[in-house]
Symmetry: C3
Subunit: 136 residues, 3 copies
């Protein structure tokens, strides 16, 4: 069986945001076994699994990725939409815009320390659309 | 239901190529709801979702990733197959060799600005094999 | 149909390890067509597809990624768990903690040179849990 829904995230500030609970609240009762796929329908945002306990990990993600893929790198020629636009596109493909999570015993089967990060790469990204697909 | 097919891409030049239409033409009539998974069966090429409108984004991807993961870095010991080989392997794992796209209303459910990029990391990669799997 | 199992990998040393055979041995008889999804239930380890023949590729992965995402970068504030912890989290999201592989003709449908790499980013990661989900 397939269950599918689209949700809109509120406009998050630039950075990494733990959205595990927010996602869980949008899901129907989960099957005994299956998979959840999440797609971010944007090219300057991302989604990934990472550490869910210490907010300093999310701060370090933002600091480090900005160093790795800097705003306003002189190599960019796609600059019309601002200095945070092209790095946003690059980050979206390096981190990824989709994840798949197993469902086991009617719950998302993540590790103890794993949470879902929504990654906003623009300074003012605004609301963002996600597609949630459950396979069972 | 599962539908699966393998296709061969023509030899693309090194860089990032928008292949959304090419992929859509290879697909059977799509189900009302489902998922499409695409695997690139190679270790020096990749596939990702990104901006589908302005070709300068694809140019910047090539420029920036070559700066991030340079050809001929002296740290590489796997050098027998040329200076573009080991960076091709690294890029393939950083960008990824597979993507999953939701299907909704008999269409790929991508964002307005999202397209499928095929990423050729070799100077002369030649034809490339992809596996397309539709779940419904 | 969905078949799901959890396995525990032995403690691997820091680096990239070819685990294709190890995974195949843990799978039930495979369906004619389908998909295998693998999730690493940890935030400082990863999984990816890459070159399965020459061990020097795995050595170069370790050397290069350590240069790209260095231990003990002064930008990190999440440092309580050691200088290899925060870079481990970053690498996990750059490489990814999950992969999906098509199944065709009762076998994993990978390219000739593709193997499954388990990526241990900690100095002493210990045993690691993986969820294997087969869709058919």
């Amino acid at each position: 069986m397939i269950q599918q829904t689209e949700i809109t995230l509120p406009g998050f500030r630039r950075g990494y945001h733990l959205i595990t609970s927010l996602i869980e609240k949008q899901l129907p009762p989960l099957p005994e076994q299956g998979l959840l796929h999440i797609l971010v329908k944007h090219t300057s945002a991302g989604i990934t699994l990472n550490e869910n306990a210490d907010p300093s990990v999310r701060t370090d993600f933002e600091s480090f990725i900005n160093k790795l893929i800097p705003d306003g790198d002189p190599v960019y020629i796609h600059t019309d939409e601002g200095s945070d636009d092209m790095p946003g596109h690059l980050k979206s493909s390096v981190i990824g815009a989709g994840i798949t999570i197993p469902i086991t015993g009617r719950r998302l089967n993540l590790g103890t320390w794993q949470g879902i990060y929504f990654c906003e790469f623009r300074n003012f990204g605004g609301p963002r659309r996600l597609v949630l697909t459950i396979f069972s």
